[in-house]
Assembly symmetry: C2
Homo-oligomer: 120 residues x 2
DNA sequence: CAGCATCCGGTACGATACTG
DNA sequence: CAGTATCGTACCGGATGCTG
């Protein structure tokens, strides 16, 4: 499989999308980020960790761990990450905007299928 | 979960991305589309069917089934689908472009981890 | 050719408990 | 607080066989 597709899948992954969009606003701490995303769709601690590690490895997210007690870790976007996040957010906004059209299309589709089911 | 996130996941899904990008060039028949995508990552017949149905239901893809023997079905983008596909392609192109940066970031990341593993 | 039905393995994902 | 480790499950996705 093409190497760039891997990165594309990281960026467009379920939680990757949400992480990038949230971090576009401002840096977040781990649990804080988890709560912020939680308003849209609950993410498990494990998945958030995994997603952040993947994005960090790809150079999209910067992890700043301060050696204090209790631990404090801040996540932010790198310049590269911001470029990706901008595009992802644009896509998300577009989706939100076009939701009515999608709903209408679905309704038409479902009705057509219901009819043909009745006809059988 | 927010309704628009569902659509976003359809669009950014593994095969959804590739279908949208391919259809941006021109309409495709089923098997033809499968082969076209196959150059990047093999997709099973089942997944392609499923992806196309989802995108059709969301009003992004138009399905034109001609009642002939042998069957001929053409898939194309709707206006709505083209809007989505444009954004997805932009993201894919960006990813391809920035691949060197990602590779470099990964190398740095992996090396740092190797070192700390040796230190233990 | 286009697609549906069925079975099945891998893994993505969540819940929980534990550590520094 | 910010994770790691372990376990169980649900679902993704592939392989195969069949239909119009």
């Amino acid at each position: 499989m093409c190497p760039y597709r891997i990165v594309l899948e990281h960026v467009t992954s379920r939680w990757g999308v949400l992480v990038l969009i949230e971090l576009l606003d401002r840096p977040y701490r781990f649990s804080e980020l988890r709560r912020a995303i939680g308003r849209v769709g609950r993410v498990s601690e494990k998945m958030l960790t995994q997603t952040l590690q993947t994005l960090e490895r790809d150079g999209l997210v910067h992890r700043d761990a301060k050696p204090v007690i209790p631990p404090r870790v801040d996540y932010s976007l790198t310049d590269l990450g911001r470029e990706a996040a901008d595009q992802v957010r644009a896509l998300a906004l577009w989706t939100e905007q076009r939701m009515p059209d999608v709903e209408r299309a679905r309704h038409t589709y479902d009705e057509a299928r219901t009819r043909s089911a009745q006809a059988s």
